[in-house]
């Protein structure tokens, strides 16, 4: 099995679940004797592979990231062009590789950014195309003002793909309902997690994610405000960066809780692990969450998690608490309960960690191989 996988980010650099997924998946595929060629933009971080079956090939340079919006200031008008440019470079690189070393059995893309390249390779060489959807434009826009340009790319990719992998049934339904794709073409493969060690727990309630409309940090702050009326010694941490950061800081000042909320900005990989480990509660109030690997990461560190009811991971996961993202009374009720009732905290922590054991990249690789075998 020879796979051309087209990605956008790979540890040590990561902006979201896409990097974590590509890292876990490519390594486990390599362990299962698939030959994986992972194409990605050249960065200063220099990702590398210690596995014989896994080659990381850097292609040109790119100034954009998977979660960028065309209105981001730094790139403005060049956004669309940059996407097309990178995709063309990748397609050319893969086609050279095909000429020199023979065809791939499958070409596998992740999300909208690299779909164009996948389609080009498929059309040029007849290689079957597999597409994993980690999030759609509807998710990233919080279902408020989705951008048609992204939707069109996504729709074209989904239509031309031979098979689609969705990270949850939630996402599968979006692909069927909003993009008009036949459900028979879509397989659901839930993500996995590399467990994180538990630290010395403190009275910290954690939000960790991009500070965008999708992730719902403002609901976290509203709940924090309610919690502090009853549990005034609690500390709240908002970890991450994004276009909503200034607004969120103002919100905490307006509510008069800025002394209890810490905005950390973007954290390094080690800092992320540390904060998961020492937090008592993790809250994921996403407006739209196709999967939510961060919840599994927090749970693996023994941190009980309160997640949006619709979050994709919770379809397949029992030992967490669920709320509607807008129901900040109930969110606060559950945060306070976790802080007050040790038996609840202990049980969720231990049962959650037990359940995490099922979510391995080995399983994700097996299911992905099933999909590959189905299109060859």
């Amino acid at each position: 099995m020879k796979v051309a996988m087209i990605g956008w980010e790979y540890p040590p650099f990561k902006a979201g679940g896409l990097a974590t997924h590509c890292y876990g998946l490519t390594r486990s595929l390599a362990d299962k004797n698939a030959k994986v060629f992972f194409f990605m933009p050249k960065t200063k971080h220099k990702p590398s592979s210690d596995k014989k079956n896994l080659k990381i090939i850097e292609v040109g340079e790119s100034e954009i990231f998977p979660y960028d919006r065309p209105d981001s200031k730094e790139i403005e008008g060049q956004f669309f062009e940059a996407v097309y440019k990178y995709n063309a470079l990748v397609a050319a690189k893969i086609n050279i590789s095909v000429k020199n070393d023979g065809k791939f059995d499958v070409v596998h893309c992740h999300d909208w950014l690299t779909m164009k390249a996948g389609i080009a390779v498929k059309e040029e060489t007849g290689t079957p195309l597999v597409l994993t959807i980690h999030s759609t434009e509807y998710d990233r826009s919080g279902w408020l003002y989705p951008n048609q340009w992204f939707i069109d790319i996504e729709k074209e990719g989904m239509e031309k793909a031979d098979k689609i992998i969705a990270v949850s049934n939630f996402t599968k339904n979006v692909i069927v309902d909003k993009y008009g794709i036949s459900p028979d073409k879509i397989s659901v493969v839930h993500n996995a997690v590399h467990p994180i060690p538990e630290g010395q727990k403190q009275e910290i309630v954690l939000f960790l994610g991009r500070l965008t409309i999708q992730k719902g940090a403002e609901f976290f702050l509203q709940a924090a405000n309610k919690v502090l009326d009853y549990e005034p010694n609690t500390r709240f941490v908002v970890a991450g960066d994004g276009d909503m950061l200034p607004r969120l800081i103002h919100q905490s000042i307006d509510m008069g809780i800025s002394d209890r909320v810490i905005f950390t900005g973007r954290l390094t990989e080690d800092e992320v692990k540390h904060i998961y480990g020492i937090s008592s509660v993790y809250v994921m109030p996403s407006v739209s969450e196709p999967f939510g690997i961060t919840a599994l990461e927090a749970i693996s560190a023994g941190t009980p998690t309160i997640a949006s009811k619709t979050a994709g991971f919770s379809e397949a996961f029992k030992n967490c608490l669920r709320v509607d993202f807008w129901d900040t009374d109930e969110m606060a009720n559950k945060i306070i309960s976790l802080l007050r009732y040790d038996p609840l905290h202990r049980t969720l922590s231990s049962e959650g960690r037990k359940e995490i054991d099922i979510f391995t990249w080995d399983r994700v690789a097996d299911k992905t191989l099933d999909v590959y075998n189905g299109v060859m």
């Binding site: 309610k226 608490l321 606060a332 009720n333 309960s337 007050r340 609840l344 049980t347």
Partner: protein, 394 residues
């Protein structure tokens, strides 16, 4: 002659309202009642229509058709009878009608379907049994002779207490933990008490209670004649078929054929030689114990484990149970009648059952019986109410 002894458990808990930490201590708001009147009424009326009324009617017909030779026993909890009296008195009337036939026996249990038998001292348990006794006397003018504890929870201490209270028989699970490969189809005697123990034949009981509509089960479809033949092959004095009454029409809906099965069961049983029906009181009068059983640790009829881990299997359940006991220590003897009743409604074992985190097959059964999304919701709600209640009595 082998006798078939059928007993049905009839219980409904008083389910709790959504009660958040913000409601704790807010005693002026009448909306912060502990019990969800609307949900409770809806569920009760639904189950009454699907199960209690049609099954009672069918049993009445069958008893008359077979001249009283078809005999069954019931255990009605106090909370169930309160539901009947509050919402649908006709349900209780139909139980009275059945009882009047003389072919129906009534069993004693704790009024509140509680775990009070597991408290450090047994005063509360005794009070709740006496309350149940008075309720049965009031409604049916009858004194039960056979006792069954909540979910058939049983150990030597409980056996001794129940024997001391004058009961002739006690019901529990025919689990191998106490039988050690002996047959459940006989009466036994506890090592430490003078009382006869009736043991549930869990294989045959669960064939109806759990497996009746399971299409992948080799016994499917279960017909009355097949089942009567299985029972005719049983050795022993007594086949005890104990199950939730909601088996008929609620756990298995009408379209599974469960009522047709029940309708034909007596006549198919009478076709077999050497089979008849007895009530629980008749069983303990007619037969003698063949051996001793020793239960130093509590067993029950619940889940695969057949112990009390269903209600006391995790930290959350332990802490609620301890809170309940703690409240009791303060409240008992205080004379606060309304608070006492509320405390006792909170002791109903179902509230702890909803907090169970058991996985796999049992977990699916638990989810079916729970109105919470998960055990953690159940715990938060129950614990918030217990915290509020503690403030009320202080």
């Amino acid at each position: 002659m082998t006798s078939i002894c059928m007993y049905f458990e009839v219980h409904q808990p008083m389910r709790l309202n959504h009660f958040s930490v913000f409601n704790i201590g807010d005693h002026n708001d009448p909306k912060t009642s502990y019990f969800d009147e609307k949900l409770n009424r809806e569920i009760f009326e639904k189950v009454a229509r699907k199960c209690y009324l049609p099954t009672n009617n069918l049993l009445l017909e069958l008893i008359r058709k077979h001249d009283g030779e078809f005999r069954v026993s019931f255990s009605l909890t106090g909370t169930f009878v309160e539901y009947c009296e509050r919402y649908m008195p006709e349900v209780l009337d139909s139980f009275k009608e059945l009882f009047k036939t003389g072919s129906v026996d009534m069993i004693e249990e704790t009024y509140y379907h509680s775990l009070s038998a597991l408290y450090d001292d047994m005063d509360e348990f005794e009070d709740q049994v006496k309350m149940h006794n008075q309720m049965i006397r009031r409604v049916f003018n009858y004194r039960p002779r056979v006792f069954r504890n909540t979910e058939a929870i049983f150990d030597n201490r409980i056996a001794k207490k129940v024997a001391d209270m004058g009961y002739k028989g006690i019901i529990t699970e025919g689990t191998d933990k106490i039988l050690n490969r002996r047959s459940p189809n006989y009466l036994y005697r506890p090592v430490n008490a003078d009382i006869k123990v009736l043991l549930r034949n869990y294989t045959l009981s669960d064939d109806v209670g759990f497996r009746f509509s399971a299409k992948q089960w080799p016994g499917y479809p279960l017909t009355a004649d097949k089942y009567a033949q299985w029972m005719s092959h049983c050795e022993g004095d007594l086949v005890n078929l104990f199950m939730d009454y909601e088996t008929f029409g609620e756990h298995h809906w009408e379209d599974t054929g469960i009522f047709t099965f029940l309708e034909h069961l007596p006549s198919e049983v009478f076709k077999q030689n050497y089979l008849d029906f007895v009530t629980v009181s008749e069983a303990v009068e007619r037969y003698v114990p063949v051996g001793e059983i020793d239960a130093p640790w509590a067993i029950s009829w619940a889940d695969e484990d057949r112990d009390v881990s269903t209600w006391l299997g995790n930290d959350m359940q332990h802490s609620c149970f301890n809170e309940l006991k703690e409240i009791g220590r303060k409240l008992r003897g205080d004379g606060h009648k309304d608070l006492l009743h509320t405390w006792r409604l909170l002791q109903t074992s179902d509230h702890l059952y909803y907090c169970s985190t058991k996985g796999m097959e049992d977990g699916a059964v638990h989810a079916y019986f729970s109105h919470y999304d998960d055990p953690y919701e159940g715990f938060i709600n129950f614990m918030n109410i217990l915290q509020d209640f503690k403030q009320k009595i202080n």
